[in-house]
Assembly symmetry: C2
Homo-oligomer: 194 residues x 2
DNA sequence: GTCTATACCGTGATAGAC
DNA sequence: GTCTATCACGGTATAGAC
């Protein structure tokens, strides 16, 4: 129906599955069924199509962090965010882009990726601060650093899982992170001091 | 001098910088100065050269874990391993391969990557066990999971840093991980119980 | 907006002489 | 082992009709 939307949808999928460099205009045409003429009418270059697809893929990631804004204890929300089911062996549609040389070298393509991670970081920092305020986490922990740690656990978990072609390492990584977070609750001793 | 070695060296560099798909035989020839004939004499296909280069790149990573076998407290060795200086914005020459579709789909190319991470995991598990035995870490933590967590922090740290074109998120991620590890030492209360 | 035809270039080789 | 020449193919468009 709407060729333009079809093209963006298809490019989004392909960029998730194969990245940018390794996805050709021909791949997009064949999967979408949109003809050559239409394609270049809507998007003068492959890069233009990729930009549209990328904006879409990063937008998918923002509501994906909705566990963080929900109700419940801050720590419970953080754990829910980490434990949300994910398509582990496909990897992260946003993080993947950082390993594509043609994306890395193109500030315009990298920009949406950068924004998405910055947004995720800000959300996580907020909940971590709440957790500290609620005495669920020690107050000597740095929320900015810790947010990057947790994001890295997820992004790196994908890498390890794909290397083994097994989601196990991803699940291990996040379970270990949660154990550490729980171990970092203010100790009974400290609570008695206050 | 030795064309074969020159080719492997050059391919190793290029695969670190640009991955496999995006590195062409021409790139290798031009950077190495080795001629077309020599190249295809030593390596019948690009994939053969990549296999040799990959074996070499993963071998670079094993001695890189030598901090783990050194002297000193187990926890100090883990921290030294995490804090070792790294070329953050270039990323990990092994982890990078997992995002290349042509590597992902080729079991022979993925195998060295898988082995390298499995080895790193085994080494980390060993030191984490020592840390628990030395009462530097709580004994209710799972060393297998935790090892994957720490590896993921590094691998994911690269992703975040490249996205921002700034090593900051990588440094945050590992600093946060170390803070969590320290917070997971057996509490005074627990120590008194034993 | 969509179609078909055409074009140019880089990739990933192969061929055969030296 | 190394050199130069050649090649088939896919990637990434452009041209112009409908």
């Amino acid at each position: 129906m709407d060729s333009r939307k079809l093209l963006v949808d298809t490019m989004s999928e392909l960029m998730w599955e194969r990245g940018y460099s390794d996805t050709s205009p021909r791949d997009v045409r064949e999967r979408s069924g949109v003809g050559q003429g239409s394609m270049y009418h809507h998007f003068p270059t492959k890069r233009d199509l990729a930009l549209a697809a990328l904006e879409r893929n990063v937008d998918d990631l923002v509501p994906a962090g909705s566990e963080l804004d929900g109700p419940g204890d801050p720590m419970a929300r953080i754990e829910a965010y980490l434990m949300r089911p994910r398509d582990v062996l496909k990897g992260c549609k946003v993080g993947r882009m950082t390993q594509d040389p043609q994306v890395r070298e193109d500030p315009a393509l990298l920009a949406p990726v950068s924004r998405a991670f910055a947004q995720a970081h800000a959300n996580l920092v907020g909940v971590l601060r709440e957790a500290i305020a609620a005495r669920e986490l020690r107050d000597d922990l740095n929320p900015e650093q810790l947010a990057h740690t947790l994001m890295a656990v997820l992004q790196g978990g994908y890498v390890l899982a794909i290397a083994q072609q097994d989601p196990g390492p991803f699940d291990d990584a996040r379970a270990g992170a949660i154990d550490l977070l729980r171990a970092a609750s203010p100790s009974v001793l400290n609570q008695e001091r206050n």
